[in-house]
């Protein structure tokens, strides 16, 4: 959705997100930076769980996977994890996800290969895909952008940065 002041995304039913910002609607400026907050009514009620944003996390390192899951669940996202790229593709075949977080360097099918798979799938062009990576070389970043990543998160991941990037990507997809 979009209004005169920029893009916004309802986060009703996500109290932890409201803790990051005081009220239930997040507003972004034209660069998708969270800027201001608007009073709104939480009308999610008992149906909140049904409306949770569902995120697929593909990360081969078990420690990082546990950290990402914890951060996302604290923000009340629904989370499915995959231990590598092959598992991620299987999860994508079997489930619907609102956003995909991908480690880049994974054994077998890497994050860029998984992103290509997402983009080729029906409806996959609109699913936000975010890289979570310690790859910082220009050519590697260029490869991520070329395949259509919506965001790139450097490791180690900080929770506020992660949530901000996710919300911006979701807002962009909803616009």
């Amino acid at each position: 959705m979009k209004d005169e002041s920029g893009f916004h995304l309802s986060v009703v039913g996500m109290p932890s997100l409201r803790a990051l910002a005081p009220q239930g609607r997040i507003r972004f400026d034209s660069q998708f930076r969270a800027t201001t907050w608007e009073e709104t009514t939480n009308d999610a009620g008992d149906d909140a769980a049904e409306h949770r944003v569902h995120i697929l996390v593909a990360e081969d390192d078990p420690t990082t996977r546990m950290i990402l899951r914890n951060m996302l669940e604290k923000a009340e996202f629904a989370v499915t994890t995959a231990n590598d790229g092959t598992e991620a593709v299987a999860a994508l075949r079997n489930g619907a996800f609102d956003l995909v977080l991908l480690d880049i360097q994974m054994p077998g099918m890497n994050g860029i290969d998984v992103a290509r798979h997402v983009r080729r799938a029906a409806g996959g062009a609109k699913i936000p895909v975010i890289a979570v990576t310690s790859e910082t070389e220009d050519d590697q970043v260029d490869a991520m952008l070329a395949v259509g990543f919506d965001g790139i998160m450097g490791k180690p991941v900080r929770r506020d940065d992660l949530i901000r990037v996710i919300l911006a990507a979701l807002a962009h997809a909803a616009a």
């Binding site: 420690t63 990082t64 546990m66 950290i67 991941v157 900080r158």
Partner: protein, 122 residues
């Protein structure tokens, strides 16, 4: 808070950030998982040395570098980066020469992280 040489091996601010971003209760489990995973990765790197399987070494060093940064184990991170780069360059001798140093850094990080957890749970 642990003090002295142990804490000089890790960056306590990184751990404090991690604690704030996850939860205090989760830190002992995360630290144990990191230490176990790091030891396994080092084991696979050592096992790959005789055959100079540099692809395995580069991959494991990359992952060790990344997870060590998460826990503020900056010396392990630094050495893992060097080993990854040497492996990618095909320099098996340089990799081999750095492995004992990596082993010492990992032992020091292990001690420091266990001290940090002990302080948390006291």
């Amino acid at each position: 808070m642990a003090t002295g040489n142990a804490m000089e091996t890790i960056d306590p601010q990184i751990l404090a950030d991690l604690e704030r971003d996850t939860s205090r209760d989760l830190i002992p489990e995360l630290v144990q998982l990191y230490l176990d995973t790091a030891a396994a990765r080092a084991g696979r790197m050592t096992a790959a040395l005789p055959d100079a399987d540099l692809a395995v070494i580069a991959s494991e060093a990359h992952a060790l570098k990344s997870s060590s940064a998460t826990f503020g184990a900056f010396e392990v991170q630094r050495l893992s980066l060097k080993i990854e780069n040497h492996a990618l360059e095909g320099d098996a001798a340089a990799v081999t020469a750095l492995m004992p140093e990596l082993s010492r850094a990992m032992a020091a990080a292990n001690t420091a992280l266990r001290a940090y957890v002990d302080d948390l749970t006291e």
